[in-house]
Symmetry: C2
Subunit: 449 residues, 2 copies
Amino acid sequence: MGITETLAGLVAGTRYGDFPPPVIHEAKRAILDSLGVALGACRHPTIDILLDLYAEMGGRGQATILGRGIRTNVPLAGLANGTMAHILDYDDTLLPSRLHPSTPLVPALLALGEERGARGPDLLTAFILGFEIEARLAEAMFPAHADRGWHGTGTLGALAVAGGAGKMLGASPEALGRAMAIAATQASGLIGVFGTMCKPLNLGKAAMHGLLSAALAARGFTGPPDILEARFGFCEVFAGGWRPEPITQGWGERWAIVDNGYKPYPCGVVIHPLIDALLQIRAAHGVRPDAVAEVAARVNPYALILTGKTEPQTGLEGKFSLYHAAAVSLIDGKVRPEQFTDARVRDPAAVDLRRRVRAEADPAVRQDEVRATVTLRDGRRLEAHVAHASGTRGNPLSDADLVAKFRDLVEPALGVERAEALRAAVWSLDANGGAGDLARLAAGHPQSS
Amino acid sequence: MGITETLAGLVAGTRYGDFPPPVIHEAKRAILDSLGVALGACRHPTIDILLDLYAEMGGRGQATILGRGIRTNVPLAGLANGTMAHILDYDDTLLPSRLHPSTPLVPALLALGEERGARGPDLLTAFILGFEIEARLAEAMFPAHADRGWHGTGTLGALAVAGGAGKMLGASPEALGRAMAIAATQASGLIGVFGTMCKPLNLGKAAMHGLLSAALAARGFTGPPDILEARFGFCEVFAGGWRPEPITQGWGERWAIVDNGYKPYPCGVVIHPLIDALLQIRAAHGVRPDAVAEVAARVNPYALILTGKTEPQTGLEGKFSLYHAAAVSLIDGKVRPEQFTDARVRDPAAVDLRRRVRAEADPAVRQDEVRATVTLRDGRRLEAHVAHASGTRGNPLSDADLVAKFRDLVEPALGVERAEALRAAVWSLDANGGAGDLARLAAGHPQSS
């Protein structure tokens, strides 16, 4: 039996009862965080543009567009909400691949689940399995996949959504294999579009492609049964030297979602350890920006590859500038969405300080690690070593931290009461309620509140 | 100025009056052929499945689904009709890349043009320019692009449609650049799905992605201005060692559409010279299948790479088996859709004869060329050299040939009168009428005629 067929069989054969309680709880944490980061961006111009196009296209009102008080058909809801969940660059992240598995999955499965009336355990099962597919494909295909220029959550995400949605639809192993094949031939997303609205679009399209794939497969649309391992199939074309073993080995022994990380800061995850370090130094020593002669950091090489913008011009570029993030960490003592506005990125004091930040790539430094030194004009050297950035597996955010982040993002969109009701609905997803309840609570109003 | 910006400026600056009459005529031939091969497949199960999904999704009735008597929104019409136009593997082909530029372009621009009320010259202009974009990208990126496993018409087609649709919408050079960027990050389509419904889906998705991209760009959706040449941009990620010169050099000196080829046989284009050769030998010598000891062919290497299936099991696989095509050429003396049914592929006489076909790859043989020898059991050797397969640039189908093919495909879908009216409307596209007229005539009825 081939890899694709084996994987499809494992997905089809896994039941809710197979997941231990910590896995269920982690899935609820991921859903809560994903809804929060989506709702925090529900009024972004990127979404306004999509909704203007939707008004022209029309479509049945099957699924809710988060925070906007309107409904559209399932694939377009997946597209809008999947895009929305990545706009703030605040979404959960799996290391070492830096994928954001929940970002296409939660919006896609919520849309399909709303239309199908999926109960909590069905939603959780589809989500945990979609997450598992994405994480295992990442282990098989990274780092080659990203090194070739692919936005992995866009590409792998389409197959993950196809698998999760297929699971929700009760697909046979054979239909799951076809769903993944149909998704594979639609998989897309270039790193070269980072810094524009196309970046979150990549993840919205992953949600849409995956939903379309599961819907087509359920109707008998044909695709090859061996898409992962086939000649000119998914793994070969998208990654070259891939390893088949991680895709199916040890299934059920542990679930990848327990490795999930949640961002305390709305910017590239590889900057997070440096932010932690500088906030620690600032808190301990009360550093004033004009007293800083230099900030020096030893970082993982990806921190420079992905977030090496020395002179960002917009808030969006600032999210991918470790220099800007370092500067505002020291100046503001916090790193929130307001630290990544266009104005904040162009602020003379921030510009001035970021030019005194030096970063050196060191392959021995992990992606969740940093060694930082702040040298003051008086000659003092303040040092910090962060072994595991906050929000990563080695230093996780508590449930309370996650809820605080969620409230911060969701209350402006839904109001305090609805935000609290949505939080409660997510936490009780294993006991009662389902996708429809989440969608109803997260719907919001056509006009902003 | 970068390559993308230069290309966008050239597209924006080209007007209908810049095309000499033979270019306009070739565009009409391509539109006629594309409508024909689409309508010939309008009742295929692939389309039934898509339309079943569309009924669930809903959408405004902006554009016609060819031959099915129903309308949907523009992107979904592009998806259905673009898929339809590739189902028979009978669509026009540009050598040496073997792209089918019209297949996503004609359905996409027809859908947009119907909604926008585009006149003939606007439709022709957008089409010729979209064709030009696709052909030039192919020249820049082939053969590396296909050798990496990409279904080039799916990937490059999305950018071509974005450019053509943007042109139809009157986009600025800047907006055309963004449209191509949005398309590039959606570009997809694996060779590994050939032989399934996913193959035509690739081209339908190119139509849909391109239409979505132009619509989003017109609304201000952002994308990088340099998507073709950017680090981790389209050309690098999809082709590695690409050449920028063909993308913009010599613009307007000649138009790629004059190199377009039209298929006389509904199967892989690289088999066509062999079919020509065997039909010639059969006609000249009256060969009986049971008299054949062996068929030997020296073919271009791609004939074996793309159509080397020795034991096809379905009609669809038969289209990519030079062995089957050779056998039915000699047995039936014609190669039409009925030579690629499941039954015909499994016919014992066809199976028996195809096992006596030997093909040898020879890089000195062009894709439109073959040297074939039929050895009879009585020892006679019958030889034929085809220098340019019928339907290719060196041996083009006449207008009368194209019209005969069109009628053969369209009359069962629309009836004789409508088919004739549609033919006349295409031929007069430069003088009167527009996209809406073509769509109305090609609409057909919800039930088959």
